[in-house]
Amino acid sequence: MLMLVPRLLVGLLAFTLLGAGCGSGDADLTIYSGRSEELVGGLIARFTRETGIRVAVRYGDSPELAATIREEGARSPADVFFAQDPASLGIVAGSGLLRPLPDSITSLVPARFSDGQGRWVGVSGRARVVVYDPRRVGPATLPDDVAGFADPRWAGRVAIAPANGSFVAFVAAMILTDGEEAARAWLEALARAGAPTYSGNAVIVAAVDGGEVDAGLVNHYYLLRRAAELGSVHAANHFLSEGPGALVMPAGAGILATTDAPEAAEQFVAFLLSAESQRYFASETLEYPLVAGIEAEPALPPLGSLNPPDLDLSDLAGALDLATDLIASAGLL
């Protein structure tokens, strides 16, 4: 029995060494996906079935994949970056690593949900909302603007996820719309009031739904997914009607400047904007489809009724460092 172990290991090692030379070489297209396999694996499989293009997908967190692409630089094996948030796309675009998309693709999506210079395109929308517990918070008492949560009567009752990419992007939006000082003052007010901090949106939604905290700042679909998984929930979503708290952040895709498969890459990005894929986002990931004519989940207020702040989403990336610094210096990180 003991003699088997070394032989087994030699076999494994040989297998590994042989495998090292091949890598993902037999795929036509390499996608770095910041969206998880659970969410988009089925969609990508459908793309391969329809086009015959063989795809290798590398799943990860969007910010980590953005950092990976930057470290890889010109040697990146990736052809497409499919990210969860505009900030990660903005970071890669800002490092000069994305190539411009053709008009036939960018024209499908409203300009405010894509990069101003056409280097990435929004694919599905995620609205920032206030998730609250109706057993403890009257809907009428909720403010219209996120600034209202600095009021002492909300002290310690609104949960945030200060390390989460969506929250940092939202603070970056606040810096762009209201200015650095306003953002700093708002964060410090929250910190002074002892706002409960959590590791991510999903955890906040679970905490609010479980009665642990009154309300929280999150993205809209976490509550919908929880309801789908559990059957029913106590908590409800409140859509802020103005200010940076009404931000709609797209998940999006861009093509690497160094791609060796530009045509397949463009086919994939166009596929994400097809009616079929857009309906998939509406029904499976419970996000807002961004292409005109495709309806969102009926339980959601229509995209047209939301009032997101007017800004170029790629600028968010430029304000990220400052946003992270402000969150840290307020003592929230």
Binding site: L13, T16, V57, D61
Partner: protein
């Protein structure tokens, strides 16, 4: 003074000291390169930032982080030492009922990822917690420092338990029996006779606990405690500018070196050789009151460390079944985990042999740095190593980038310390006079190593490999960034599902991960005495 020129009488008086060959150095050092090269890239980035780096280091925020982290490290390692030594003594030296079973239970938490343990603790407390459902009284919600302390103590005390239990098994019981025969109470025997002899083993275990605490991300993130690693992650995730993350990672290595120096200061120079296996000890008979207390304490430990986390996972699987989330077994991911972990374990354990020979048989200022570096690497946040390796490998390593081979090399490098520690401890117990006798009888160094030394240290060697296996099974950040595209492991599947709160789907890979790791853990914990 050349060895060959030394007069014969001098050589007889003092054992001959061979200079370690360059090959030995090469073999020992090469395994650490896959972690050191990336760290070098990170260090380069910190140094290039110059004055700005200094500004980040001297900021009040950094001071607060250092304070938080060191407080956590001290609290976790003290608690892990107390729990680990206590459990080892109870299961090895007393007549506690069900000792064999308790040995498995005490070691088993090592197979559970720290974030799953943290999740179990989080789901127990609070108004909606499991505690309220079962006993009717809500436990306080444990988050922040207390939560992180508890989760990491549970995650790390098995390091202490395993090394101390192994050492107790090796200890010659005649000293204890002599002390008891002279009328000393069990507690006094433990304090004055057993504890000093356990010092090297306990020190090695506590060191691993402390450094694991430095590098841990999962538990501190879930408990929302501001430790270094969490902030390093945040800086990587939320920034265009990579300098702050690099500077903080560099600072973390300095902290790790401080912990190491502190441990070495208190280690002393004691050495205990025992050439032959000791006979089984006479067990301490616990009084009935003490026995009840010991059983209660071990049961509480088992509840927090095993029942809660595994129960939480099972509850999710069951819930997923009723909600129709479609749980499926992940054979490919299980195979991926096993392949990576087995190869990493084999590589790290093999490389620990030359390194352990250098450290124990050619002890010098230079060789002790091999050990220090191995332990400092163990404390590095894995995302730092991984991103540094991405930067290096994408540029210079061609098709080796994103290969399983490179991933395994990185695993073996970051988890080298436990393998080295275990092999070193085993080698330190081997009386060098045995090797000298073999050499004196004309056997060469390699045949002596294979025929005399290795059989004596085989168990320590295997135990080190097993630790590497278990740690690799749980590893996530380096796996995510460095794995071949399309290569899945159970930890990756668990992460992938839990980021979207698909707990029901996350729970199954987590349970398979625990089950697969539990088999070798069981073998290690129940292995018969030599």
């Amino acid at each position: 003074m050349g060895g060959a020129a030394a007069p014969a009488w001098k050589a007889a008086e003092r054992p001959p000291r061979h200079r370690p060959s360059a090959l030995l150095w090469l073999a020992a050092g090469a395994v650490l390169l896959p972690a050191l090269v990336p760290f070098g890239m990170v260090l380069g980035r910190s140094l290039a930032a110059g004055g700005r780096a200094l500004g980040i280091i001297l900021s009040g925020r950094t001071a607060q982080l250092v304070g938080n982290t060191m407080l956590l490290v001290i609290a976790v390692s003290s608690a892990a030492a107390a729990v680990g030594i206590g459990a080892a003594w109870l299961t090895e030296r007393t007549d506690l009922p069900g000792r064999r079973g308790w040995r498995v239970v005490a070691a088993l938490p090592l197979v559970i990822p720290s974030y799953v343990i943290a999740l179990g603790i989080v789901s127990a407390g609070g108004p909606a917690g499991i505690a309220r459902e079962i006993i009717g009284i809500p436990l306080p919600a444990m988050r922040g420092f207390v939560g992180a302390w508890l989760a990491l103590t549970i995650s790390t005390y098995p390091f202490v338990y395993l090394t101390v239990a192994a050492s107790l098994r090796r200890l010659d019981p005649s000293h204890e029996e002599a002390a008891r025969g002279l009328g000393a109470a069990p507690a006094r025997v433990f304090r004055t006779v057993v504890l000093p002899q356990l010092r090297p083993a306990a020190g090695a275990g506590v060191l691993l606990a402390a450094l694991y605490t430095l590098s841990d991300f999962g538990a501190v993130a879930l408990m929302r405690f501001d430790a270094f690693t969490r902030v390093v992650y945040v800086q990587y995730a939320g920034r265009l500018d990579r300098t702050p993350a690099a500077v903080l990672a560099t600072l973390l290595v300095l902290l790790a070196l401080m912990v190491l120096l502190a441990e070495q200061r208190t280690r002393g120079r004691a050495a205990y050789h025992s050439a032959s296996s000791p006979r089984p000890p006479r067990l301490v008979a616990l009084r009935r009151r003490h026995r009840a207390g010991a059983l209660a304490a071990l049961s509480l430990l088992a509840t927090a460390a095993l029942v809660l986390p595994v129960g939480t996972l099972i509850a999710w699987v069951a819930r997923g079944g009723t909600a129709g989330a479609g749980a499926r077994l992940e054979w490919g991911a299980a195979l991926g985990s096993l392949t990576g972990a087995l190869l990493a374990a084999a590589l790290a354990a093999s490389a620990s042999l030359p390194a352990a020979v250098l450290v124990t048989r050619h002890s010098s200022a230079a060789t002790s740095w091999i050990e220090r570096i191995a332990y400092a690497v163990f404390a590095l946040p894995h995302i730092t190593v991984a991103l540094g390796m991405v930067m290096f490998a994408a540029r210079y390593l061609g098709s080796l980038y994103q290969s399983l081979l490179l991933l395994v090399l990185v695993y073996a490098s970051i988890f080298f310390a436990p393998a080295l520690g275990s092999t070193r401890a085993a080698l330190a117990r081997v009386d060098p006079s045995l090797e000298e006798a073999s050499r004196g009888l004309g056997l060469g160094p390699l045949r002596t190593a294979a025929g005399v030394t290795f059989p004596l240290i085989r168990r320590g060697f295997a135990a080190g490999g097993l630790l590497v296996f278990l740690l690799t099974m749980k590893e996530l950040p380096a796996t995510l960034l460095l794995r071949p595209t399309g290569f899945d492991t159970l930890a990756v599947r668990l992460w992938s599902a839990s980021t979207d709160l698909l707990y029901a789907r996350a729970a199954l890979p987590a349970l398979v991960l625990v089950a697969v790791s539990a088999v070798p853990m069981y073998l290690l914990a129940t292995r018969e005495r030599p």
